[in-house]
């Protein structure tokens, strides 16, 4: 102990500034809002059915649609697409019948929002009255008011809040409440007295409350709560009356509403606990992590930190708060429970939004994609922002970034559980949820695909954050994180939209697969068509319908272009970054990312050229060894196109794997995708240019034709989208194997080196 007394004073490292990046908690509130509004849509749709719908009119209209369909007026002759078109028109006809419900649903949402706005304004006034707050007058506490005004200016508030107090409250504490434009801070009598007895403690507590206002916690919290009470008032209460004679359905709805309430309540508490720490941290900026705030927080009444009480509490334990004041790094991470709750909130009322959009759009994929825009964007706002924050926290504190996979698994778990709790699920239907399918052992592949997609996307976000933050170094990376999160939101929208559509139409897909299997059998009798699974992967129309969506290749290009665009960051500034730290002396001087763009492009070009050569050899071989009659058959042409696509996919896989071998940084998979896209684009060119080449050079012709370019742009576009999308899947698989193998080899090498030269060996 004596030796310690003589030790130099403890000089803690500067704390990373959690306000340097937007907080994920705002998006968590927004997800709750979306979930509640989604439930409102469902409730008012039900209300329309129960109260507003003219049943006779609806039935008559539906029967008229059916009659039209049966009379064949929808069917255009013997066109093979006629049935599909007829089905679409029938759906559109029925949708028109139910479109009145839309006004009820949107009206319900408008009503909830109106009442919520009114409550947001009224609530603080009620609170002020009920708590017995009275204005803090200058004649009572002139010095306190002077100090409060100064603290308000220090906090950077545009407008000083109203100061009110409870003279008979003996404890020393404060409370922020109100709404934008009319914020108030309530002080207890005990706190006002502290201005004289312990000014540092007084300032620390007031700074905490002002930080709530500055961090926009007050408006957000009261708006969210107002929305919840408005939902109870103008959605749940009338809904309950319509359920009185519904028996088991009412029970089913009740427990689902209870689950939604629990989600809102627990998430609100979790977010508030998190915001308390943010308020502490902002308040501590004035007097440091070991100042008066730490002393006052440390003296607060402790409580049980066990799980049930912890979930219900509005404040973290004093120990946690003091720890967070000293080390802000945990504020840059997201827990698995938070990711789970985000997934749950995103899907708990996804179906209701899906139904609403479904009355305006015909294509199920468009419907799911539009519905997914809201929830995917908010989900990325929670998890994506958290990963960027973690990347920054890791950089600023020189600590490892958190693992992505627990967050991804928890998020998927939330996505699986959400539909189980949705109000739409109260109506018994034939559609089994993914979770039920999984429990029955049928949905394993679906869940596996969802897990893989989500993990890949989260890893991409983390990788993008890592390379961009290092490239920007001491500069704020506002543009980078905005762009990165927008791309991620777009990608997740596409993923969720496609995933839920495929799930919804799994029976149609199964039928399509049966037809594709028959097709495979048919063409196999004429030419080698490879294994059926490969044929299914390349040729199944249902799969093609999804992967040929224009947004998918665009998303793929953006997914590799964004991380690789760091090579464009030329001026690199390292060193002092006051914005990045709460305390003086913080520096950002990371290693420059080892990202290359020319290398994967060169690999892709080489892969493309190899693919072109393979096409020439393939065409020449067929011309030489397959007779003209066989070559003229449609089945043969089908297999010919099939094998050309397979060659393109193999070339993309090899190019992707090669790019993975050379890639050195966190964004390895971006280089893999880049190489595959370049190879796929050249392969597409070779594929569509084949008939022209065959027309000009007989040795590579399949069917005799003119030496002219008569390939339609639509066909070229279709093939490019297919090759790039399917090639991306193949390249990612190969790339993952290569990256995994390299990681394993690297680990083994390090272990061997450690065995040969143990740490510290040879040191004096």
């Amino acid at each position: 102990m004596i030796a310690e007394q003589g030790a130099p004073p403890d000089t803690p490292r500067p704390r990373p500034n959690p306000f340097a990046f937007p907080s994920d908690t705002t998006f968590r509130f927004a997800l709750l809002v979306a979930a509640v509004l989604g439930a409102t849509l469902y409730v008012w749709n039900w209300m329309w059915t129960a109260l507003g719908a003219d049943t006779e009119k609806v039935n008559a209209a539906a029967l008229a649609c059916l009659a039209k369909a049966q009379s064949g007026s929808f069917v255009d002759g013997i066109d093979p697409l006629a049935i599909a078109r007829s089905s679409d028109r029938f759906s559109a006809c029925v949708q028109l019948t139910y479109r009145d419900a839309t006004w009820w649903m949107l009206g319900g949402v408008a009503l909830v929002l109106t009442v919520a706005s009114a409550l947001t304004v009224i609530w603080p006034r009620l609170k002020e009255r009920r708590a017995g707050f009275r204005p803090l007058a200058a004649e009572d506490a002139p010095e306190a008011l002077e100090a409060l005004a100064e603290l308000s200016r220090e906090a950077g508030l545009r407008r000083e809040p109203r100061w009110v107090w409870q003279p008979l409250q003996t404890a020393a504490t404060g409370l922020a409440f109100g709404h934008p434009g009319r914020y108030a801070v309530g002080l207890t009598g005990g706190l006002v007295v502290r201005q004289a007895t312990d000014p540092d403690a007084f300032r620390a507590i007031v700074r905490h409350e002002l930080a709530h206002i500055r961090n926009r916690d007050v408006g957000l919290t009261y708006a969210t709560l107002s929305l919840w009470y408005a939902f109870l008032l103008v959605a749940v209460v009338p809904f309950a009356f319509t359920l009185l004679d519904e028996g088991t359905f009412a029970l089913s709805v009740t427990w689902r509403l209870a689950a939604l309430a629990a989600l809102v309540y627990l998430t609100r508490n979790a977010v508030l606990r998190s915001r308390e720490i943010y308020a502490d941290v902002r308040a501590s900026a004035a007097d440091g992590p070991r100042g008066a705030l730490a002393r006052v927080v440390g003296s607060l009444k402790g409580r049980s930190d066990r799980l049930p009480r912890r979930l219900l509490a509005l404040h973290p334990s004093p120990e946690r708060r003091v720890a967070a004041l000293r080390d802000t790094r945990p504020l840059f991470t997201i827990t698995a429970l938070e990711a789970f709750a985000a997934g749950l909130a995103a899907t708990i009322n996804f179906d209701s939004v899906n139904s609403l959009v479904g009355w305006y759009l015909d294509d199920p994929l468009d419907v799911a994609t539009v519905a997914a825009i809201v929830f995917a964007s908010l989900l990325v706002g929670v998890v994506g922002v958290a990963l960027w924050r973690d990347g920054f926290g890791a950089l600023a504190s020189r600590t490892p970034a958190q693992a992505v996979w627990p967050i991804g698994l928890a998020l998927v778990a939330g996505l699986l559980v959400g539909p189980e709790l949705s109000l739409a699920g109260a109506v018994p239907g034939d559609d089994a949820t993914l979770l039920r399918d999984l429990l029955d052992g049928k949905g394993l592949l679906w869940v596996g695909a969802l897990v893989a997609l989500v993990l890949l996307l989260l890893d991409w976000i983390a990788a993008g954050a890592s390379v961009w933050l290092r490239a920007e170094a001491a500069r704020r990376a506002r543009g980078a994180w905005t762009a990165g999160l927008l791309v991620a939101a777009g990608a997740l929208t596409i993923i969720l939209g496609a995933f839920y559509t495929l799930r919804e139409f799994s029976e149609a897909i199964a039928f399509s697969k049966t037809l594709t299997a028959q097709q495979h059998q048919q063409v196999s009798e004429v030419a080698a068509a490879g294994p059926e699974w490969l044929w299914q992967f390349v040729m199944d129309p249902a799969t093609l319908l999804v992967i040929r969506r224009p947004l998918i290749p665009l998303a793929i290009v953006l997914l590799w272009a964004f991380p690789l665009a760091v090579v464009l960051v030329r001026r690199r500034q390292t060193g002092d970054a006051p914005w990045a730290f709460l305390d003086q002396g913080g520096r950002l001087d990371p290693d420059r990312p080892h990202v290359r763009v020319l290398r994967p492009i060169a690999i892709g070009l080489a892969g493309g050229v190899a693919c072109l050569l393979a096409y020439v050899v393939y065409r020449g071989s067929i011309h030489a060894f397959v007779d003209t009659g066989t070559r003229a058959r449609d089945e043969f042409i089908l297999t010919f196109v099939f094998w050309q696509i397979v060659i393109a996919l193999v070339a993309q896989g090899v190019a992707g794997g090669a790019a993975g071998v050379f890639a050195r940084d966190r964004a390895r998979l971006a280089e893999v995708l880049c190489a595959a896209t370049v190879t796929g684009s050249i392969a597409t060119l070779g594929l569509v240019a084949g008939p022209f080449a065959g027309g000009c050079v007989d040795r590579v012709s399949i069917r005799p034709g003119p030496c002219t370019w008569d390939v339609s742009a639509d066909f070229t576009w279709d093939i490019w989208r297919q090759v790039v999308a399917q090639g991306a899947v193949v390249a990612l698989l190969v790339g993952l194997v290569v990256v995994g193998a390299r990681a394993a080899i690297g680990m083994r090498t390090r272990e061997r080196a450690e065995e040969l030269h143990p740490a510290g060996a040879g040191l004096p």
Binding site: G132, R134, A137, D140, A141, Q166, P167, L168, Q169, T170, A171, A172, T173, G174, L175, A176, F177, T188, G189, G190, V192, V193, R194, A196, T197, I205, H208, E209, H212, D217, V218, T221, L272, R275, E276, V297, S299, L300, K301, R303, A313, L314, H315, P318, R321
Partner: protein, 176 residues
Amino acid sequence: MSAPTIDDALVAALARPAVAETAPEELPLFRATSEAYFHDPGSLTTKGSRDAMLGFGVDAAMVLVTPIALSVARDVLNFVIEQVRAQSREHGKDAIDRLTDRLLRRSSKPAVQPEGQAATPATPAGPAPEPEAPDLTKEQLEEVREFALEKAKQFELPPEKAKLLAESLVGSLATA
């Protein structure tokens, strides 16, 4: 028998010197605090703060004495008046009023008058000498002290402050 109604001014007159002695830093807030107390005595909270949304946290420490002093003073006065009422045969029926006047006059003396405020519309001293109010015996004062201490402890005031408050209240009564 119902408890006698105690004049708010009398309560303030008894509590104020006690606050001046126990927690002088609270004197500037005495007027506002006593107003709030007399307006709604039931809202006095000494249970520490709640875990309120966007509050600072649960503070168990109690740092404000004035509301407790007011509450204890009211109880003490009730207690004392009960005692005096019992002696009213000896000192006449106006004994309680005379005691009240004495306390109020004491509180309106310049020495203890708060800056720029009057705790009560003090009763003006009459020109004619009045009969003496009964003095409390030493035993009675000790009884009052015990009573006040018990009340203060019920409010979970720290023992030292509770003792000081009780003694201060008794002192005010003894010297009134």
